[in-house]
Structure formats: structure tokens, C-alpha cells
């Protein structure tokens, strides 16, 4: 009798866990396969590989335009996250710390770039720039990317600010700190998780972006996702997988950093 009840309790969980195992496989499969293929000792991508080698990684430095694209994307993503943090945090402070007419509406407005598919935002920006005679440069890329990353910062920083009890700030003011000191020494350290999460989201969104860059990039500059896209369509050997492998390791490092600094579940608002 007792074991029957036990089975009745655990059977649903067993089934659930089994299902989760399958989904886990589904989630990691494309990432694992890319890593495996990147070590394949073959001229074409197929599975299972006949042997393993590191030569595709050694080949990376010789891939046309790879390093400049990587540096461009890195520079762009860093600048974009800094800008988005600056614009997003100031706006979040206004939205959370003050009450004024139209606050809810402004919040929706600041989040609106998320609703539009980036490809459409990109086309609109392209047509806007061409009307004004603005040529595609690094600056246009910077503007386009900042635009779509502001919402991530606003979302994370407002969440952090709302969780912060303003009496801590009042205490600082009582003790004689001016508003700037209060912000720098009290508010800023307390909303750090939101800033880190927002900054990382902004960085990833920019670093990974294809659909905005596609319209706004100049002829000389090709951001990394566009470069990889180009390789995927034209290069048949596993060198593309090696490029991807490096990027995946890069992401894993980012996951670990996020986990260490703010905790993943907090960063994802779970």
C-alpha cells in the first residue's frame, strides 16, 4: 500500500524529469554539434567526423576579415552597452523615483523598440538616413544598436530600483549626503545587479545583431554576425564551426560571469 502511494507520488515527477531531459538534449544539441564539428578532421561538415584535429582553430587567423569583424563588433557592443546604460538608467530613475502624468505611457514608449522586428526598424532607419543624406558609418550602426538595447536596460534597472526601498536613500540624505553622493554611494551599488544584467543584455544584443547591421553598415565595416553568415553560406569546411566554437566559449564565459556577479535567475527576472 505504502509503495503504491509512493509510486503515485513519484511517477508524475519521473515523467516530468524524463521530459525535461529530452528538452535539455534539444536545447544543447545544436551547440554541442557545432563544438564537435569544429574539431573534425575533414574537409566537409558531416557527422560523425572521421577524426579530430585542432587545425580549423589554427586556420582562424587566416580567415578573411574575421579579426577586423570581431574587433569591430566588440568595440561596437562595448560602446552600445555604455550608451544604453547611460540613457536607460537615467530614464529608469525618472520613471521609478518620480510620479508625473504620462509615466506609464513613457515606460511603454521606451520599451517600444522591442515590439517592432529589428529588421523593420533597420529599414526605417536606412530610409530616414538616405532622406537626410547621411551615409552609413560606424555612427549609424551605433545609433541603430543603442536604440534596440535601451529597453533591456530600462527593464532591468527599473526592476532593481523598484526592489530598492527608498528609505535607504532618505537615510543617506538625512546624514548629509547631497543627491549626487546619495546616488553614487547608495543607489548605484544597490542597483548593480540590474545594471550588470541590463549591460550584459545590451552587449549580447548588439554583439549578436544581424538585422539592424545589415542595413546600416558601411561598405568597409562588417560586424561579426554578418561575417559568420557570409561564411555559412559560402564556406563548406569546418572552419565556420571553429569560429562558432570560439563564440560559444565566449558566451560560456559570459554566463559564468553573470552567475558570479548577479546570479542567473536574478538576471533573467525569474
Amino acid at each position: 500500500m505504502r509503495w503504491r502511494r509512493r509510486i503515485a507520488t513519484w511517477a508524475p515527477w519521473g515523467m516530468l524529469y524524463g521530459f525535461c531531459g529530452l528538452m535539455l538534449l534539444f536545447l544543447v544539441a545544436p551547440i554541442v554539434i557545432v563544438l564537435l564539428v569544429s574539431f573534425a578532421d575533414a574537409e566537409f561538415v558531416y557527422f560523425p567526423p572521421p577524426g579530430f584535429t585542432l587545425r580549423w582553430y589554427a586556420h582562424l587567423g587566416r580567415m578573411e576579415g574575421l579579426v577586423p569583424s570581431f574587433l569591430l563588433s566588440l568595440r561596437l557592443a562595448l560602446l552600445v552597452s555604455a550608451l544604453a546604460l547611460l540613457l536607460g538608467t537615467t530614464a529608469s530613475l525618472a520613471l521609478v523615483r518620480y510620479t508625473f502624468p504620462g509615466r506609464q505611457w513613457l515606460n511603454t514608449f521606451l520599451m517600444s523598440p522591442l515590439i517592432f522586428p529589428p529588421i523593420i526598424t533597420g529599414i526605417a532607419l536606412l530610409q530616414f538616413c538616405s532622406t537626410l543624406g547621411i551615409r552609413a558609418t560606424f555612427f549609424t550602426l551605433l545609433v541603430g544598436h543603442t536604440l534596440i538595447t535601451i529597453p533591456y536596460v530600462v527593464r532591468n534597472v527599473t526592476a532593481s530600483l523598484q526592489g530598492l526601498r527608498s528609505n535607504v536613500e532618505e537615510a543617506a540624505r538625512l546624514l548629509g549626503a547631497n543627491p549626487w553622493q546619495t546616488f553614487w554611494h547608495i543607489t548605484l551599488p544597490l542597483i548593480k545587479p540590474g545594471l550588470v544584467a541590463g549591460g550584459i543584455f545590451a552587449f549580447i544584443t548588439s554583439f549578436d545583431n544581424y538585422t539592424i547591421s545589415m542595413w546600416l553598415k558601411s561598405a568597409e565595416d562588417t560586424p561579426l554576425p554578418m561575417r559568420i553568415f557570409f561564411y555559412i553560406e559560402r564556406v563548406m569546411d569546418p572552419s565556420v564551426a571553429a569560429v562558432s566554437g570560439v563564440m560559444i566559449v565566449f558566451s560560456i564565459v559570459l554566463v559564468i560571469v553573470t552567475e558570479k556577479v548577479v546570479g542567473l535567475s536574478r538576471a533573467m527576472n525569474v
Binding site: W13, Y17, F19, C20, L24, L27, A29, P30, I31, I33, V34, F47, L87, T90, A91, A94, L95, R97, Y98, F100, P101, L106, F109, L110, P117, I120, T121, I123, A124, L125, Q127, F128, V143, G144, L147, I150, V154, S166, E169, R173, N178, P179, W180, D208, Y210, M214, I228, F229, I232, A241, M247, I248, S251, L254, V255, E259, L264, M268, N269, V270
Partner: protein, 314 residues
């Protein structure tokens, strides 16, 4: 009038911060929130709202051969879109595929979200990392992973053949099946994360109460957990639908120009055909249709599930 308004609003903020140390701080004219908001709002107005308005204006122009356009105001582009069967079909196909992706994500995401919210802490943590990890690996690379997995000699075809499900390799790239599979993978976290966060907030005593009152597990799920998780379902499915309908990279890479989704056609018009007015019109139609669907969906949810959504309004 405007001034009086601002004074009132800043009065409210004074009340929140009773002690405003003016010493050492520069007094800027007007309430501080205006200065805090100006940079972000200005960037969005100039580089988001104005461009969208420009695009809407372009959609009313006509195209002249050679990539030029004529600034006349006409609805010809819109008429052309709905008259051509091809465009109507692609629009319907895009929306239908986005819907399929959303439903699959919901069905496959709910159990995982439940385990993240209620399962063993270690399992929950591993699952959370696994769910989030695709988000951090770029979309181009994830699509490449699926391209490798789904091609004729790929692991999926090999596995299906080994299991005896199919006798000869089936085509999984260059068609919508492959695109939906990879979109599901790409957007899965956007369904699971809101679901998990809502499920976590459902209080256990509620379930226990239902059990004590004689409900079995299935009944507890259908009568208590499922209705209470509707805000999560609503949020997750909305985001996944929007993202799937608006996707471009995955349909392009996995679909290999053999199956075009609507935004692929838009890109073609702008970049290859150089018919900017028609491309703009297609983009406008796409946004209008999607916004309309979202509005209808919101209304539907509100009328049917007002009792659970009420708390979420704030």
C-alpha cells in the same frame, strides 16, 4: 498651464523625499525627471519615431524603374500587396508558422517551466542554465548548428533512420519544418522564463487546500495551477509570436531562399529590387496586421480571464 502642471508634479516628488539637501547641488530649472528623461526620449524620437514616420511616408510613394521614387501620395502599394495572391499567401504562411511555433513552445515549455519552478533545486538550476544558454549563443551560430543537425546526412536524419522512423533521408532544411524547429529552439527561453516566474509565485497552500478538499493531482492542475498561470502563458506566447513572426535570420539561413517568410520578401524588395516604396508598404502592412492580432489577443484574454489578469494590471 504647462508650468502649473510641472510644479504640481515636482511637489509630489518633494513629498517622496522630504529632505532635499540643496547644499552643493546645482539647481536646474524644471523638475529633475524631465532632465533625466530627455536623453533617452530624444534618441528614440529622432532615431526611432521619425524613421518609422519616414517609412510610412515612403509607403505612399510610387516606384519608378531604376530605383527611383515619385513623391505622390497613393495607396497603390497597399492595393498591389492585397491583389497579388503571392503576397497574401506569404503573409498568411508567416503568421501561421509563427502560431505553430508559439503553440509548440507552450506545449513543450510548460512542463520544463513547472520543473524549474517546483522541482529539485539542483535540477531547476541546471534546467534554467540550459534554457538560458541558447539566448547567449548568437542567433547566426544557433541557426548554423541546426543547419548541421538537419541536413540530409545530419544527425537527426541518421537518428530517425536508425530508429526506423524513416527509410531514406528526409529534407529538413530549405522548408518550413526546419525553420520552425530552429525557431522553436531560438525562442523557447522567452516562453519558459515568464512561465517559470509566474508558476513560482503560485502559493503551495493553494494546491494543498485543493487537495484537502478532495481534488486529485490532475484536478489541481486544471482547476488551480493552469488558471493561475495564465498571465505567464499570455506574456510568453505574445513574445514568442512577435519574435517568430518578425524573424529573418533563421528563415533565411535554414530556409535557404527556398521558402520565404514575409520579412524576407521585404528585404528582397528593398535590397535587391530597390523598390523602396513597396518594401516600406509591406513593412507597414506587417506591423499593422501584427498589432491588430496582438490587440485582439489582449481583448480576448481580458474578457475570458479577467479574474487572474486583474492583479497584473499595475
Amino acid at each position: 498651464m504647462q508650468r502649473a502642471y510641472a510644479a504640481k508634479a515636482s511637489g509630489a516628488s518633494e513629498a517622496e523625499f522630504p529632505l532635499r539637501a540643496r547644499r552643493g547641488s546645482v539647481r536646474w530649472p524644471g523638475p529633475p525627471y524631465v532632465w533625466l528623461l530627455i536623453p533617452a526620449v530624444l534618441v528614440l524620437l529622432v532615431f526611432f519615431v521619425l524613421p518609422l514616420l519616414t517609412m510610412i511616408r515612403y509607403s505612399l510613394y510610387t516606384h519608378v524603374a531604376g530605383g527611383m521614387m515619385q513623391p505622390v501620395l497613393t495607396f497603390d502599394n497597399f492595393q498591389h500587396f492585397f491583389q497579388q495572391e503571392l503576397y497574401r499567401r506569404v503573409l498568411a504562411k508567416t503568421l501561421l508558422n509563427a502560431l505553430i511555433t508559439t503553440l509548440l513552445a507552450l506545449l513543450l515549455g510548460y512542463p520544463v517551466a513547472y520543473v524549474i519552478a517546483r522541482g529539485h533545486p539542483l535540477v531547476s538550476r541546471i534546467l534554467l542554465i540550459a534554457v538560458i544558454s541558447p539566448l547567449l549563443v548568437g542567433i547566426v551560430i544557433r541557426s548554423y548548428g541546426w543547419l548541421v543537425l538537419l541536413n540530409r546526412q545530419g544527425l537527426v536524419n541518421q537518428a530517425l533512420q536508425a530508429l526506423g522512423v524513416i527509410t531514406s533521408p528526409v529534407r529538413l532544411t530549405g522548408n518550413d519544418v526546419g525553420v520552425i524547429i530552429s525557431l522553436l529552439h531560438v525562442f523557447y527561453p522567452f516562453m519558459v522564463l515568464p512561465l517559470a516566474s509566474v508558476l513560482q509565485k503560485i502559493e503551495r497552500p493553494l494546491e494543498e487546500a485543493a487537495m484537502v478538499l478532495g481534488a486529485n493531482r490532475l484536478q489541481v492542475f486544471y482547476r488551480v495551477i493552469l488558471p493561475l498561470s495564465i498571465p505567464g502563458i499570455a506574456a510568453g506566447s505574445l513574445v514568442v509570436f512577435l519574435l517568430a513572426a518578425g524573424s529573418f535570420v533563421t528563415p533565411r539561413l535554414i530556409g535557404k531562399n527556398l521558402t520565404k517568410w514575409l520579412l524576407g520578401l521585404v528585404e528582397e524588395q528593398v535590397l535587391t529590387v530597390f523598390n523602396w516604396p513597396f518594401g516600406a508598404a509591406m513593412a507597414v502592412i506587417f506591423i499593422a496586421v501584427v498589432l491588430l492580432l496582438v490587440a485582439v489577443y489582449g481583448r480576448l484574454l481580458e474578457s475570458k480571464f479577467a479574474f487572474v489578469l486583474k492583479g497584473k494590471a499595475s
